[in-house]
């Protein structure tokens, strides 16, 4: 659990973070989002003391971070940054094993852990262990970055725009992988991004920051339904936020069981987001889709009326 109480950071005259309070529960994925310069990265880096806060208190599991030795503290917290920060002169395996080695784990245990993590992140040992970072694609390199952060099995993971430099397709794949990992590992994650779609997709709790302050926080759907002000509304996409909300809802939640009518010709997967269903309807100019399961077997139907949630 991470708690911030009235945390402030001054850089000389400038106030980067202005008295923010925040509580990230154990196992929660908290996304800090905002325009550049809003203090979200600074906030993240104060948690592992890469930046020291000027005032206020930051607690990990109830203990102020100031009371930890900073090196010990950082070894307990996973850290992933945008350009991976992999050591170019070390192989993938050596990069991943960094923190366990710093913690003086026995050699055998380090090797096993590296193997386990590479498997977890879909990097076959035989192919990748002895490669150097420059031989990896952006997506592979960032997987290694995530593996390195997870190496010593930290409870907390700090991620600073980790997917920001990747192409949209790789980015989306890694976002889904992260959700998948999180479902298995239940880490406490603080994730910084300026990409609202990414934020909405990943967040258990979304924290919108502006000029060093928290403007609003809550579950993504709550924010979409009731943005605190114009700024939050525009950040969430203004008039297109209906589509963003549709991207968070699954077809499963709106479909009806198969009725007596003939099956509609166009199909949509049961776990697809509503936005995809809407797009299919727009594309094929129809107002009804057949919902199918993983094996492409029809299990229900979705009408435009149901999709938009109309009461009538």
């Amino acid at each position: 659990m991470i708690e911030l109480f009235g945390v402030t950071k001054h850089f000389g005259e400038e106030v980067a973070v202005d008295g923010i309070s925040l509580r990230v529960a154990k196992g929660e994925l908290c996304v800090l989002v905002g325009t550049s310069g809003c203090g979200k990265s600074t906030t993240l880096r104060m948690i592992n003391r890469l930046i020291e806060h000027t005032a206020g208190e930051i607690h990990l599991d109830g203990q102020p971070v100031r009371t930890f030795d900073e090196v010990t503290l950082r070894r307990r917290i996973g850290y992933v940054i945008q350009n991976t920060g992999l050591f170019p002169h070390w192989t993938v395996a050596r990069n991943i094993g960094l923190v366990p080695r710093l913690l003086k784990w026995p050699r055998q245990r380090v090797r096993e852990r590296v193997e386990e993590l590479m498997a977890l992140l879909g990097l076959p040992m035989a192919e990748f262990a002895d490669k150097y970072p420059r031989q990896l694609s952006g997506g592979q390199a960032q997987r290694v970055g995530v593996a390195r952060a997870l190496a010593a099995d930290p409870e907390i993971l700090l991620m600073d725009e980790p997917f920001g430099a990747l192409d949209p397709i790789t980015r989306e794949a890694l976002q889904l992988e992260l959700l998948d990992l999180q479902a298995r590992l239940h880490k406490t994650i603080v994730f910084v991004t300026h990409d609202m779609d990414e934020a909405l997709r990943l967040a258990d709790r979304l924290v919108v920051m502006r000029q060093g302050r928290i403007v609003q926080q809550g579950a993504p759907v709550e924010l979409l339904h009731a943005p605190a002000d114009e700024f939050v509304a525009s950040l969430l996409g203004g008039d297109t936020r209906g589509l963003k909300e549709a991207a968070l809802t699954r077809v499963r939640d709106r479909m009806l069981p198969l009725g007596p009518r003939l099956l509609a010709h166009e199909r949509v997967a049961v776990d697809a987001p509503l936005s995809q269903a809407l797009s299919l309807m727009l594309w094929h100019r129809v107002d009804r889709l057949t919902v199918v399961d993983d094996e492409d077997i029809p299990i229900g139907e979705l009408s435009l009326r149901r999709l938009v949630g109309s009461k009538t």
Partner: protein
């Protein structure tokens, strides 16, 4: 200054350097040192009017030994002080001195080596010591400059990650900064040592005895043969040293 640019300058001279390059050059150097007498014929042809055409005041091997010793000592000290100094000014406690040192290192490069010696003599007197000190000072500059360039050229993300993962300052220096900067640092050491092999010869004018002796003596006595003998040996020594550094450097670059 980019890392590639600094390293690249040395690598372009690859043409004289095969796998056994350094050893071959060393062999040629020693053979010439010991067998200079065999070349009496050609030297006599070059200098028909002189009674002596082979420099004989001291053996070439002894002069070579002196030369290597002087350059070696000066370079060793220059590496320790230069790398140490550059590391110190890139640490938090020494950061205030970084601009000063960085500027001195650049400006110092424009200073001609002869002038360094001319200034060293009144302060340190004649003999071998002033040469060592002068070479040390002159050799510091490329080392400092390249060490700074090497350390500052490291991707800030790598540094950030190293801190964020919980490496101590010492671990960051030894496991990250120095290995990554090594090729650039070595390029600086190479420049420093090679230039000093040549500069040390000028030391003969202020009383040091080394491979510069035959040259100075040849100039004073109008004996071109002496000048050639000294120049050939110094040239060979410089090439030997340079090609040896090239080998090591190429290994390092391959690794990173």
């Amino acid at each position: 200054m980019s890392r590639r640019a600094v390293v690249g300058r040395g690598l372009r001279l690859r043409w004289w350097l095969g796998e056994w390059g350094p050893l071959a050059w060393l062999g040629l150097l020693l053979v010439l040192c010991l067998g200079m007498g065999e070349l009496e014929g050609p030297f006599r042809w070059i200098e028909p009017d002189s009674r002596e055409v082979l420099y004989a005041r001291s053996s070439f091997l002894a002069l070579l030994g002196q030369h290597v010793l002087v350059v070696g000592l000066a370079s060793l000290a220059a590496v320790m002080i230069g790398v140490g100094g550059a590391i110190a000014v890139t640490r938090p406690f020494g950061r205030d001195f970084l601009p000063l040192v960085s500027q001195l290192a650049s400006i110092g490069q424009t200073f001609p080596p002869v002038a360094v010696l001319a200034l060293a003599v009144p302060v340190l007197g004649f003999g071998t010591l002033p040469i060592i000190v002068a070479l040390l000072l002159y050799g510091l500059l490329p080392i400092v400059r390249n060490t700074l360039a090497g350390i500052q050229g490291i991707d800030p993300g790598v540094h950030e990650a190293a801190r964020g993962m919980g490496m101590t300052r010492r671990q960051i220096l030894l496991q990250v900064e120095l290995p990554l900067a090594a090729p650039v640092i070595l390029a600086g050491v190479r420049t420093s040592v090679t230039v000093n092999v040549a500069t040390a010869a000028i030391g003969a004018t202020v009383g040091a005895s080394n491979l510069g002796d035959p040259i100075i003596s040849g100039i004073v006595n109008g004996n071109t043969a002496y000048v050639l003998q000294g120049a050939m040996l110094i040239g060979l020594l410089a090439i030997t040293v340079d090609s040896a550094f090239e080998r090591v450097q190429r290994r390092l670059v391959q690794r990173v």
